[in-house]
Symmetry: C2
Subunit: 301 residues, 2 copies
């Protein structure tokens, strides 16, 4: 008998779905109906609509695993946040059941939190990527770039601590809603300006107190208008590297893994090189699919 | 003969005007036509309209001094940025002439810059406040809260260096355009949350990497929704204090002066107390009026 299930990564801005048969993703699709963009549709309706688009019969799918913001307080149903330290292989035992509207067992994977108040933090979705990215039991630091990037210390399959840095969102709001972006022309990619920003971020004492220098450099003619975007992006990512490297005490022999894909992956890859941090890489989609496969296998046996 | 002139503080969001006779401000008014909100009116038209509203005859005013963003590259006419180190009593010798539309000598006061590219910075308006706030020749650090707050080291009436921190604007864009503010109810003033934020900012290693904790504290129930604003405001101002205290090597015997007014002044006053930084205060309007008076007197003699 074929082992078949749906794996969903249901985030804020989109929904991605894979049909997995015997451990292999045989079909996949993406929908723009992230939890903040559902236009009053119900969660089951969006899920069923995407299934139909993928030409998958509901009767063929008896299990659905959902990671991401669908489990938040503004999602399908609020799922737990398991407090750190949390064993990643415990994720499958804490699924929150939801009804997809056909006879299937659908479960939202719990998030993980650092209980506060000091150092309070939350993640949703990245815990599944971490579970999938684990390949050995050595002490390790994982970096997951994103709108809200995560740095997580994992030891023997246990998340001991993590920190969220809203680097991506900060870039977006500064670029589109602050004086730093006002009146700028469309950006022209400029790797040297990105590098220059990274180096400034690595050398800074604080991110916030460096931000205005971006405008000053532009006004005083040191930074062409088309290069402000890349410089600012570099400054923010470099600043993230500097503070997180210190916070997680990254040394030359710390095993660091960068989990990502696309242009954001490329930026973090470059910034880690400039910071002199050695690392290995994993593809983000592979990680989340592996994480869900591990959860499925743990329940199936 | 009466010495009479107009003093203008023409900023991004509003224009404030004083009529000064024999060193005393005898009339004042404010207009919403800051340089970013002029609705296609010309600068002379706005100035003349406000004069008319104040019932001041043009013929009675032969001198106009303008400080602030009216001298920026998107203002009335671009005025100089004098590079640090700059003697504050040199401001009056570098006015940029503009034509107000009646027979008067109108001049925009130059800004001040830190030439770059490293540490590049610019100010417009604050240099006039600094000139007015100077009362002795001791080495001193001035703090000028604002949308873009300034920390300036002044020694013997010379600005040696300064740093801009866009704390106020960062609060505004995070509150209104980022996930940190999404779905929050109207804020209820909560001094304890502000203090708690300040302490967190003073203890942080970096501002950016602390921002997400604001949302996490709220999600995990440690911070009521109505108190997020005051906590975030405190976090940002506390972070500013921490980094600037280090950057300007503030010690127990550094003479620090806080120049401000209103609610922002109150917040910085409280945060400085929490940071254990001793300081004296000056009213912001008094400072800018004194600065313009010094410029006028230097030209009049």
């Amino acid at each position: 008998m074929v082992s078949r299930y749906l794996a969903a990564d249901w985030g804020s801005t989109n929904l991605r779905l894979w049909l997995v048969e015997d451990g292999i993703a045989v079909k996949n699709a993406a929908s723009p109906f992230g939890i903040t963009r559902m236009q009053n549709q119900s969660f089951p309706a969006v899920l069923q609509g995407l299934l139909q688009q993928m030409q998958i019969a509901q009767a063929d799918v008896s299990r659905v695993y959902i990671a991401g913001m669908a489990g938040s307080n503004v999602g399908w149903q609020q799922a737990n946040y398991l407090p750190c330290p949390v064993a990643l292989n415990a994720l499958g035992t804490s699924l929150t059941r939801v009804d997809p509207g056909w006879p299937a067992q659908a479960g939202i994977i719990p998030g993980v939190c650092v209980p506060g108040p000091d150092g309070a933090d939350v993640m949703r979705g990245e815990e599944t990527q971490l579970l999938g990215a684990l390949q050995d039991t050595a002490s390790a630091l994982f970096i997951l770039p994103g709108t809200h990037s995560k740095w997580a210390r994992v030891h023997h399959d246990v998340i001991h601590s993590f920190t969220t840095v809203m680097t991506g969102e900060l870039f977006d709001v500064l670029r589109h809603h602050s004086l730093l972006g006002r009146g700028l022309p469309a950006a022209a990619p400029h790797p040297e300006s990105f590098d220059c920003g990274v180096m400034a971020g690595l050398a800074a004492s604080d991110t916030m107190t460096e931000l205005f220098s971006v405008r000053a450099r532009y006004i005083l003619g040191h930074l062409p208008a088309q290069q402000v975007d890349d410089y600012l992006s570099g400054l923010l990512i470099g600043s993230e590297m500097r503070d997180m490297r210190q916070r997680f005490e990254v040394s030359a022999d710390t095993p660091v893994t960068l989990v990502g894909s696309g242009s954001l992956f490329t930026r973090y890859d470059r910034a880690l090189h400039l910071a002199g941090i050695a690392f290995t890489t994993q593809d983000a989609d592979t990680a989340i699919l592996n994480g869900i496969r591990k959860i499925h296998d743990s329940l199936d046996t």
